[in-house]
Amino acid sequence: MTRCMLAEGLSLRREKNGSSFTLTVPRLEVSCGQTLAVVGTSGCGKSTLLDMLALILRPGSAERFTLELQGKSEDLFAAGPSRLAQIRGSHIGYVLQSGGLLSFLSVRDNILLPGRLLGLPPASLVKRADELGERLGISGQMQKKPQHLSGGQRQRVAIARALIHNPALVLADEPTAAVDQASAEDICAVFKSVVRESGAALVIVSHDRPLMERMADTMVTFRVEKPTPVDACSTLVPQEKAL
């Protein structure tokens, strides 16, 4: 399978009110077409890891941190902020916990926004948005403002927005946390299949381990150690799927 992203020896240390939190990633590889689930309890560093992968949080140190783009390996640790922003805009899709939709834009405009910001041809963009809408079951909502949608519908819109520009990597932060179990299953299933069709890699952060066990191809979790009462060290470790 083609590699999409590789992170080796990533670490980030955060200090806050006299306590510290250190996140270490010995090795994480994400392949195209694969779904990787990051599971773990609250505060173990799931979201921090996701923000680093989304290039909005820069790791403190890294041995290798690369993204494969059109057969070329992009060094993410060495790239400057504007290059990172560019990569973020063009090659990464992000699904936020609550959707992260812009309230002042219609569903269609929300979905089209990343593509428009990249200056992609409008005709093909609209076509792709309609396809995604169809695929995600929100065709009837395209003209509405996000505030008139249910939580599940919003997440579907957020998924469509994350995929509109055909990114290489799609990141999702607790995409189903705000919806009921049944909808969560539906959303995850359609999410996974749509990402796979587009050939992108998908990284989902979730605390819902049973769901992820059904969904993910690979799973990782964190091992938390507390050397002192105020310090915490979290290390990413592979998680065997329970069969």
Binding site: I56, R88, L96, S98, F104
Partner: protein, 621 residues
């Protein structure tokens, strides 16, 4: 569409979507800006109205002398050149500037003050009245009412002297009647020359142009020096008597070479040069000298070294003027043409206009009358240089022994030209039509003056009083308006500073709060790869839109309120006057300042936003 345009559109969509919130912010900005605009509008409108009223009233700019002081043509010329002066015209003596006016056939006569006028008269121009042409006058409205006449009417203007015993009159057409607000007193405006004619008549002199009777203002002879040439010396007593009550103060014996003298005097003669000190010697003085040397074979020759004559082209340099004859006696060897009595006269009778020149000069003019100019130049004891000249017609005759560079003239002509030392002369004719040198005006005792602007009145008043001319102006009222303006300015800035501080605070917190409110939207945009200047555009656009909306609302409110204020006070206002007003420049300035403030605050706020990791904003919820 460029990325920046995309962001601007997004921000606009946001403002529109949250229209209630946006309206609140705009209203907050308008609430602060409107009273400020209104106050500034009132301050500007009130002061401008007062100022305009003063400016529109020529009386504000009028400068009138309170004291009589003789002012000559040079003084007036200097004032005409002064950029602080819009208009100045000489005035005659007040008492001479009155005449009776009446409509032909009507009984009632009205005594009117006459004011001089000339082209560009500020008062007449302001009220659209034409400057009267010769034979015309402009009346104030009380004068027209008293005379029961109107524009185009014909009036008789009657002047008298010697307590009404001698009268003269002329017809005048009413060229215009000034409106009531221009003047409250009955008066007539006449051209300066015509007022001068009235004064001339009242002074007892004739006005030949109008056929008014009187004496001719003939120039009388005056000389600084006289040569007495005798065949034998005088004894000491008689020598002393030459300077006793003769108008001459000093006497010295000279020889022929000491002084430029006319030909005809021989070496044998004893020459006494008498000099007047202070005022010049006149015909009576010369007669007294002649009396002292009666029976002594004496020649009494009036001399004036300060005179010269310029002839038309062909004679480059000015020629010295010497007597062609003694007083009452011809010089030996000089046989000028014409009657002897005319050549030896020394009086104010029209002087002989024939002069003798060296044949080389005389031949150029062929005995025809030429337009010459006589010059007087001397420095007074105080060091002041007096220069005057008069143009006159002369006939140039050849005199065989006239020295080169010299003109020989009758003693009368030398004497009358000598009066240039004291006053201007002009070449005219007597009532009989004989060419004669006449007394010119020595100057004027007053003037009508208008300053070029309100700010020029006080400095002009100061400058005139520096010269010793007390004047009356409306400087005090102008001062009041300017002072009111100053105090209102101070008040305005105090209030403006307070409300500006409040307004700025409101605007700044508005914009700042808005940026804070948009943290999540900004974080989402960053997640979508928007960064740097493009990202800053988002909060800036909303800051600009909200401020623009606020100020626009404020201006609309201002115009509505200003219109209300102006209509409430309309009965106190003339046409075109307003109480509350802002120019377009003021309004644009208000808009500009508010926008600048919004942009600065927006930049500061969004800079702070940029420093926060987007991850922090994303999971705030």
């Amino acid at each position: 569409m460029s990325r920046s345009m995309q962001i601007i559109r997004l921000a606009a969509a946001d403002v529109r979507h949250e229209w209630r919130m946006s309206l609140c912010m705009m209203l907050a900005a308008a609430a602060i800006a409107t009273p400020l605009l209104l106050f500034f509008g009132l301050k500007y409108g009130v002061i401008e109205t007062l100022r305009q009223r003063l400016l529109d009233d020529p009386a504000s700019m009028e400068i009138l002398p309170l004291t009589d002081k003789r002012l000559d043509e040079a003084w007036f010329e200097q004032k005409r050149q002064d950029s602080r002066v819009a208009f100045v015209v000489p005035h005659t003596r007040r008492l001479s500037a009155q005449a009776e006016f009446f409509v032909q056939g009507e009984k009632s006569k009205v005594m009117l003050d006459i004011a001089p006028t000339l082209e560009n008269d500020t008062l007449l121009q302001r009220y659209g009245a034409p400057v009267p042409k010769p034979g015309e006058c402009v009346l104030t409205s009380p004068a027209a009412a008293k005379l029961r006449t109107q524009q185009g009417g014909t009036l008789v203007c009657q002047v008298s002297r010697d307590r009404g015993k001698i009268r003269a009159s002329r017809n005048l057409t009413v060229a215009a009647v000034l409106p009531g607000r221009a003047a409250t007193l009955p008066a007539a405006y006449l051209r300066l020359e015509e007022l001068e004619q009235i004064e001339q008549f009242k002074d007892g002199r004739a006005v030949p142009e109008l056929g008014w009777p009187g004496s001719d203002p003939l120039a009388y002879p005056a000389v600084p020096k006289t040569l007495v040439a005798l065949s034998s010396p005088l004894d000491a007593v008689r020598e002393a008597m030459l300077t006793q009550n003769t108008g001459f103060a000093s006497m010295k014996k000279i020889s022929l070479q000491d002084e430029p003298l006319p030909p005809g005097l021989d070496n044998e003669r004893t020459l006494y040069l008498l000099s007047a000190v202070g005022s010049q010697a006149d015909a009576r003085d010369l007669a007294a000298v002649a009396d002292r040397v009666r029976g002594k074979d004496a020649y009494v020759l009036p001399l004036n070294g300060n005179l010269s004559i310029a002839l038309p082209a062909g004679v480059p340099q000015r020629l010295a003027l010497l007597p062609a004859a003694a007083v009452g006696r011809m010089l030996p060897g000089l046989i000028p043409p014409g009657e002897e009595r005319n050549w030896t006269d020394f009086s104010s009778k029209p002087a002989l206009r024939t002069v003798l020149a060296h044949p080389s000069v005389a031949s150029q003019f062929d005995d025809a009358p030429v337009d010459a100019e006589a010059f007087f130049a001397a420095s007074s004891p105080s060091g002041q240089v007096i220069e005057r000249s008069v143009k006159l017609r002369l006939r140039i005759a050849a005199g065989s022994n006239v020295p080169e560079g010299t003109i020989l003239a009758a003693p009368s002509l030398i004497g009358q030209l000598g009066l240039l030392a004291e006053r201007p002369l002009l070449d005219g004719t007597t009532t009989e039509g004989v060419p004669a040198l006449l007394l010119g005006r020595r100057g004027y005792s007053g003037f009508r003056m208008y300053a070029a602007g309100l700010e020029q009145v006080a400095p002009m008043k100061a400058a005139l009083e520096e010269e010793g001319i007390t004047v009356s102006t409306r400087a005090d009222r102008i001062e009041e308006v300017l002072a009111l303006n100053k105090y209102l300015n101070i008040l305005f800035w105090i209030i403006a500073a307070a409300s500006l501080a409040g307004g700025m605070g409101c605007l700044v917190s508005n914009v700042y709060a808005n940026v804070e409110r948009k943290r999540r939207e900004l974080a989402v945009l960053r997640l979508l790869g928007v960064h740097g200047a493009a990202l800053t555009l988002f909060p800036l656009t909303s800051a600009v839109i909200l401020t623009l909306g606020g100020i626009a609302g404020s201006l609309a409110l201002f115009h509505a309120l200003a219109a209300t204020i102006n209509s409430v006070f309309s009965q106190h206002l003339a046409d075109g006057e307003v109480f509350c007003r802002l120019t377009l420049a003021h309004q644009s300035a208000a808009l500009g300042i508010a926008l600048a403030l919004a942009v600065l605050t927006g930049l500061a706020a969004s800079r702070r936003m940029m420093r926060i990791q987007p991850a922090e904003s994303l999971r705030d919820e």
